[in-house]
Symmetry: C2
Subunit: 344 residues, 2 copies
């Protein structure tokens, strides 16, 4: 009937689909300060405060593998992913709604485990679980969470505010969640080929925790307030450092230079990278799921940040004409590339 060419989703990928759908969005309200295009949207509340909104959806077989993910950890992590989006705006979260679709192969006890993890995350991050939906699905488990955050209007930090000569900083360390995933995948494949084997997970606790039960850096938002620092731009590292650096640079219309030797990596991450023969820098740049904060800040903050135990200065913001570059330990400078995650 219709001889127009149809486009498989695999052809355009997840980012391509989002870009395509975004084009048709029109806004009706002056209260929407920021719609789609940052870690969270920003809504004017008519006083000095703004409301932030963000939503994430996790699908079984795409975002998590229940063969090695305890449901309690999954519940916890599904909240953390959302909390991290609010933190990335320099704000603190307050309410969440949780919707799940679950197939009848799950038991009540299994869903209670999932909600126990959600509840623990609500305790830790002081969130009120105020609504949601619970329905059946024809297959698998889907978790969709929406979160609110609040801040003063002038505290909000966007992806677009980086300025030339700003410092580029990252919290915590990189690549650990990815390394944890590699260990889980290795033990799963051993188990599939030799079902009697017990998984060898001892000695890997830190990187497994980073993968299975990560934390969002709301502590750093409080630290920024203690230090009286407002970053010029910020984003959370869910898709890997390189990808997020390119986002900040593009949204801020700048170039960014990153220094390989400055990338913070935990000793277990580097030991396991060696054990599994994975290049450590690739892992730190593209690992993903670290839920750390990448931010830029005025050079004047240098003295406060240079010895901060939880913050590493990893680069510098330059004019957009200089592009985005990675300075290798060897002294060589190469263009910074993101190795994306394509789910379709």
């Amino acid at each position: 009937m219709d001889d127009k060419k149809l486009t498989p989703l695999s052809e355009i990928g997840e980012f391509g689909l989002i870009e395509d759908l975004k084009k048709e969005i029109h806004l009706h309200h002056k209260t929407t300060i920021k719609g789609i295009g940052d870690d969270a949207s920003v809504i004017d509340l008519g006083n000095e405060n703004v409301l932030l909104l963000s939503s994430d959806l996790l699908a079984e077989g795409v975002h998590f593998d229940l063969s090695y993910t305890p449901l309690k950890h999954l519940g916890y992590k599904s909240v953390v992913v959302n909390v991290s989006d609010i933190a990335a705006m320099n704000a603190l979260p307050r309410e969440i709604t949780v919707s799940i679709a679950v197939s009848s192969r799950f038991t009540l006890e299994a869903i209670r485990e999932l909600y126990e993890g959600i509840r623990l995350a609500c305790e830790y991050y002081k969130l009120d679980l105020v609504g949601g939906d619970t329905t059946s699905s024809k297959s698998g488990l889907i978790i969709s969470i929406s979160i609110t955050g609040y801040a003063k209007k002038n505290e909000i930090v966007y992806r677009s505010g980086a300025k030339e000569n700003n410092l580029v900083c990252v919290t915590g360390n990189l690549g650990a969640a990815y390394m944890g995933l590699q260990i889980l995948e290795r033990e799963k494949s051993v188990f599939v080929s030799q079902p009697g084997m017990q998984p060898e997970l001892s000695g890997y606790e830190y990187i497994l925790k980073r993968q299975l039960k990560p934390e969002a850096r709301t502590d750093m938002i409080n630290e920024f307030r203690n230090l009286a620092i407002i970053p010029t731009s910020m984003i959370d590292i869910s898709d890997g450092l390189a990808s997020e650096v390119l986002h900040l640079a593009k949204e801020s219309n700048t170039g960014i230079d990153i220094y390989e030797e400055k990338l913070p990596v935990d000793s277990m991450t580097s030991a396991v990278a060696q054990e599994l023969n994975i290049p450590l820098t690739t892992c730190a740049l593209n690992g993903g799921e670290d839920y750390e904060l990448l931010f830029t800040v005025d050079l004047s903050a240098f003295e406060m940040l240079k010895n901060h135990p939880e913050i590493s200065i990893i680069g510098k913001v330059n004019h957009f004409s200089s592009g985005n570059n990675l300075h290798l330990r060897s002294g060589q400078v190469v263009p910074l590339k993101a190795q994306g995650w394509k789910h379709f």
Copy 2:
């Protein structure tokens, strides 16, 4: 390993699961005026206004059947379902986030159709689409929408405010969406047995529209304001009138009497009920998906409402000791029972 008895979800049902999970919820913030348990949660914004939050999740094969649901209508309806939750609090909606999980059997063009419906609903209800998530799924389509609403604190109407001698009212008419579904199911089963047949849908336009492209009654919220009426309790009719009457009665700690002869039914609904040999009152009481508003209001509003073209007075609030009753045309009085929808 674990010899405790495990409970299949089918044993407790969807309402049972929600009840079970609700028990463990603790709130941390005084700003949460109403958490789980109404059509939307209510959050104090520190001034005269409150924020409302609600989320709904629609799953393919559970909430919709793509064999007869055009994707554009599905997108529209998935927004309407959420808008209706905000209207049911006597408030107007403003922002939505839309998360979808979609399997690779869908094309870009199909997802564009879905979003075109979402966009049309955003135009009609003046909503800003401010965020969401788009990911792949291993099977089927999942649509998860969260919505905000705003109102003055003293305008908010809960399920729990019905008082003895209040009038019980409903907007629009009942059972049409359910009748539309019966026609779609009939034509689908004809098609399955005789694939060459064209579906016979002409003449059924009104009830098909009520099923495939319903509207939320935000117009009635504006009408309440014009009439200077604030209902004492309200709920939207998504699961059928009887079920929602029982919710209002329970939450308000009252009894409610409903009169069969007062139930508003469109002439096409009654003609098709006769054609398909479905008892009309059952259909009006338990049909579901009408997205009309059921509300109670002080007796003093009687003169304003008695001839209102969009509002029917269908019953009266009584002391809880008198229970919930249906007065049949015959004069007989029977206990009002809900025929629920169990998805598991």
